[in-house]
């Protein structure tokens, strides 16, 4: 199986994730889009690992998953806290931290 295919797939998914992060305003969805991007990267890693037959790439995928889990947990906790205060999960309503 050609590696290129998976690289392109990863690129596409990553792009979609990025656009999603930029377009959506719902914090939860944004978090999901981030997960999407992470997955795209994972795919690329795995593809390269397969291309030059080294497990290093897969190890990296493993760690990326760890980070993703942590990120999701903290991110959702933040979302909940935000929702408690503001009754919303809209990131544009949470724009207090500015000049």
């Amino acid at each position: 199986m050609r590696v290129e295919f998976f690289l392109l797939m990863g690129a596409l998914l990553f792009t979609i994730g990025c656009v999603g992060v930029l377009v959506r305003r719902n914090a939860i969805v944004i978090l999901m889009c981030i997960e999407l991007m992470l997955n795209a990267v994972n795919l690329t890693f795995a593809a390269f690992a397969h291309e030059n037959q080294s497990m290093a790439g897969q190890v990296f995928v493993f760690f990326v998953m760890t980070v993703a889990a942590a990120e999701a947990a903290v991110g959702l906790a933040i979302v909940i806290a935000l929702f408690r205060r503001r009754r919303t999960t809209d990131v544009e309503d949470a724009s207090l931290m500015r000049w």
Partner: protein, 216 residues
């Protein structure tokens, strides 16, 4: 590759359709079916080949990803994201990373997405909450940027240094098994492994503290 390009085209068409008739999943299903038939007709020989299946999975993956971004309802986004994750797990299988595939399902589908579902249910967001998209200029700009990024990526991948179409063939025995990965994790990447565990602990505590109603 023609397969993939065809997929991309379909994706674009689907996106157009989607933008014309919002909140209607029927066209999506129709497009999907049409594409499937088209692909079946496209080449019989590819049906048994991995090409076909990975192409199909990739199609589904991109579809679901798009749905994640587009769909107004967070819960539906979650579901599509789960679908996408399964697709990627299948990709892992194709790439001789069985362990990763299972781990993918357990961690993402089994834990993280459950968390998302849980939160969505907890906050019980209404649909219109999800419907609100970013400001016009930013939206269009984002799409332009995405196109630019995708173009760059295609360019980069298309002419990678040597052998852009490299195909290593079948992997060695035990490649991607839990045994291999575990061995690496506990020997060469020991430190990173421990660091990851610490990271998880920190994230756990942080999540608890953040979500607590009042600290006392």
């Amino acid at each position: 590759m023609e397969l993939l390009l065809g997929l991309i085209g379909v994706v674009a068409v689907f996106a157009l359709v989607r933008s014309f008739l919002p909140a209607r999943t029927l066209p999506a299903g129709a497009a999907l079916g049409a594409v499937a038939v088209a692909l079946l007709a496209y080449d019989y020989r590819e049906l048994v080949g991995l090409e076909f299946w990975s192409g199909l999975i990739g199609f589904v993956a991109i579809m679901s990803a798009l749905m994640v971004v587009i769909h107004p309802n967070p819960m539906v986004s979650v579901l599509f994201l789960i679908l996408n994750l399964f697709c990627i797990a299948l990709f892992f299988l194709i790439l001789d990373a069985q362990f990763l595939a299972v781990i993918q399902v357990i961690i993402y589908a089994g834990a993280i997405m459950v968390l998302f579902v849980f939160v969505v249910m907890l906050l019980n967001l209404k649909t219109e909450e999800g419907l609100r998209l970013g400001g016009g200029p930013q939206r269009s700009g984002a799409i332009v940027l995405g196109a630019a990024f995708a173009a760059l990526m295609f360019y980069a991948i298309r002419n990678r240094g040597e052998a852009p179409y490299f195909d290593p063939g079948p992997s060695g025995p035990g490649f991607g098994t839990a045994r291999d990965l575990g061995g690496l994790l506990f020997t060469r990447y020991q430190f990173a492994f421990e660091a990851a565990s610490i990271l998880l602990i920190a994230a756990m505590i942080g999540a608890v503290v953040l979500a607590k109603r009042k600290l006392r």
